[in-house]
């Protein structure tokens, strides 16, 4: 409580004191007695006044102590640093958090220049900060690295305003000191990682360019290879066609029915091989033969060569099957031999198919694939194989070829049936044909 306030309340205090003593100061005793009593009264009243005054002072002290505790909690125990600086950077005061950031006991910091605790390179930054606070008087901030004995401590952001120091009434910079080490480290980490990513990205781009270059080379090489294969298929087909023409020349075979038959057989065999390359060339493939295209043409050509297109129906079913050349060629040769046999022997003039089988003369060629297993079937509903013909011990070139190619080239299981005509079926594995 202030002194002036006590004087101003003296009348109030007197009233309280007199009320406490239970006496009125306006009695009618004889003068001496009255004077003594008056003096005693005055003294008693004054004593009570002093006691009351003391009580108020104690209350004021208690309030001041509570304020000090609150101040300690707010200022000293604050989670961020607080400090006061002179324009030269001398520390007027600093709280515990601030002292902890500086890494020195508070009593060693106060009255020292704060520049002592800042990294050399950042001292001009701090000086400039103080100058701006004192010159402009508005909130100003800076970032500096604190260090101790040359070792870096924390990075801090200092935000300061100009304020009047009491009771000295001189101007000081009141500053908050905030530890931003983690934030700056995280930012540096992000920058570092970003640089690493940029470098990685650059390497990836370089690798991408290299890959594109190699891909271009490969594409060019593939195009050249494809062009060469295309040319090879074309030339093989042409050479076989030339050979077929040679066989057809007058004088190339004996001009007898037997010679004619031999010529037709040879031409059909060569044709079945030439057609493989023709099909590849036509379907723009290089090694995988579309068997539907191939077989439809092959069987049509055989039928034409025997001039029985009208009297014998030919059915081909090979949709969706694709074989490599190593399997398509023996398939073609086998079909050529068996279909040729059917045309030659299954429907003699004396055999009335409609009457015997109830259906027109028909040759059926079918190639199906299920789970990588192909089944090639060639059948006719003709008169059937003569009893003296034994496929297992075949002597004729045609059947020997069929048997041999099925066993050694296709590695097929062969089945023969003779119900309602003649039928052969071959089951073999079709390895995956690479897509082209």
């Amino acid at each position: 409580m202030k002194k002036g306030s006590i004087t101003g309340n003296s009348r109030e205090l007197r009233k309280k004191a007199e009320a406490f003593l239970g006496r009125d100061s306006t009695g009618t005793e004889d003068q001496a007695s009255i004077d003594a009593k008056t003096l005693l009264h005055e003294l008693s009243v004054h004593q009570v006044e002093l006691e009351l005054q003391n009580q108020e002072l104690m209350e004021a002290r208690d309030a001041a102590e509570r304020m000090q505790v609150k101040y300690f909690a707010l200022y000293d125990l604050a989670p961020i640093g607080y400090a006061g600086f002179t324009i030269q950077g001398q520390v007027a005061d600093i709280n515990l958090a601030g002292a902890e950031m500086v890494g020195e006991p508070r009593n060693r910091i106060v009255n020292s220049r704060f520049q002592l605790f800042i990294a050399q390179r950042d001292i001009p930054v701090f000086n400039d900060f103080l100058l701006r606070v004192f010159r402009n008087g508005i909130k100003t901030k800076c970032e500096v690295q604190l260090e101790r004995d040359g070792q870096p401590l924390s990075i801090v952001r200092i935000e300061g305003v100009l304020a009047e120091q009491k009771p000295e009434k001189n101007l000081a910079c009141r500053a908050a000191i905030i530890d931003i080490t983690e934030q700056r480290n995280a930012e540096r980490d992000i920058i570092h990682r970003n640089e690493e990513l940029t470098a990685l990205n650059r390497k990836l781009e370089e690798a991408g360019v290299d890959l594109r270059s190699k891909q271009d080379t490969l594409t060019q090489s593939l195009a050249e290879t494809e062009a060469l294969l295309d040319e090879v298929n074309h030339r093989v087909k042409n050479n076989l066609s030339a050979f077929i023409s040679l066989l057809s020349l007058k004088g190339s075979h004996e001009d007898t029915p037997e010679g004619q038959r031999l010529k037709t057989d040879l031409i059909n065999r060569a044709q079945s091989m030439a057609l493989i390359h023709e099909t590849l060339y036509r379907t723009k493939k290089f090694s995988s033969v579309d068997m539907k295209v191939y077989l439809t043409t092959l069987v049509g050509q055989i039928a034409m060569s025997y001039g029985t297109e009208d009297s014998v129906q030919v059915k081909v079913d090979a949709g969706g099957v694709v074989l490599d050349i190593a399997r398509a060629t023996p398939c073609g040769l086998i079909i050529n031999e068996l279909v040729t046999n059917s045309f030659k022997y299954a429907f003699p003039a004396t055999f009335d198919c409609m009457k015997v089988r109830g259906r027109p003369s028909t040759i059926t060629v079918s190639l199906k694939e299920v789970d990588g297993i192909c089944t090639l079937s060639v059948s006719d509903n003709g008169i059937g194989m003569p009893e003296e013909v034994d496929f297992r011990n075949a002597k004729s070139l045609g059947l020997s070829l069929v048997k041999f190619l099925a066993k050694h080239q296709l590695r097929a299981e062969t089945e023969i049936h003779d119900k309602d005509g003649t039928g052969f079926s071959f089951r073999f594995v079709n390895p995956r044909v690479s897509s082209e």
């Binding site: 023996p330 040769l333 020997s400 070829l401 041999f404 190619l405 050694h408 080239q409």
Partner: protein
């Protein structure tokens, strides 16, 4: 060709092209050789030799069906049997064929019957 005892000489053909194998079989049989088996892969001929007596000679293509080529199959056979192996190859394959002593041991396709019989006779004579 027959040896004095009268037993025909046996020749095994290892060739993945069926038509060429069939032609070789027919050609060899026309000269009196016996062709007990035709094989398209090295694995097949090795399996055969595992339980059957070796022939007098083997005609071996370089490119075969299966995982082994003719050179690998021949090496396996030579480590276990003493018999002549004649490689039949395309021009490209010929460079791969290692020499085998002073023996002429390869024929380049296409070859004539005479070339085939000459090289077989030469080999059989050296091994007899």
């Amino acid at each position: 060709m027959t040896i004095p005892s009268g037993r025909p000489r046996q020749i095994i053909v290892v060739e993945d092209d069926g038509l060429i194998a069939m032609h070789l079989e027919e050609t060899l049989e026309s000269r009196g050789f016996e062709v007990p088996e035709l094989f398209a892969s090295g694995e097949e001929v090795i399996a055969y030799l595992g339980h059957m007596p070796p022939p007098d000679l083997i005609l071996m293509d370089i490119r075969l069906d299966g995982k082994m080529n003719g050179l690998e199959a021949a090496q396996w056979i030579r480590e276990r049997f003493t018999l002549p192996i004649i490689f039949i190859s395309g021009n490209v394959d010929k460079e791969l064929i290692p020499p085998f002593g002073t023996l002429r041991n390869s024929l380049t396709k296409p070859f004539s019957r005479e070339d085939l019989f000459a090289i077989i006779d030469e080999a059989l004579l050296q091994y007899s």
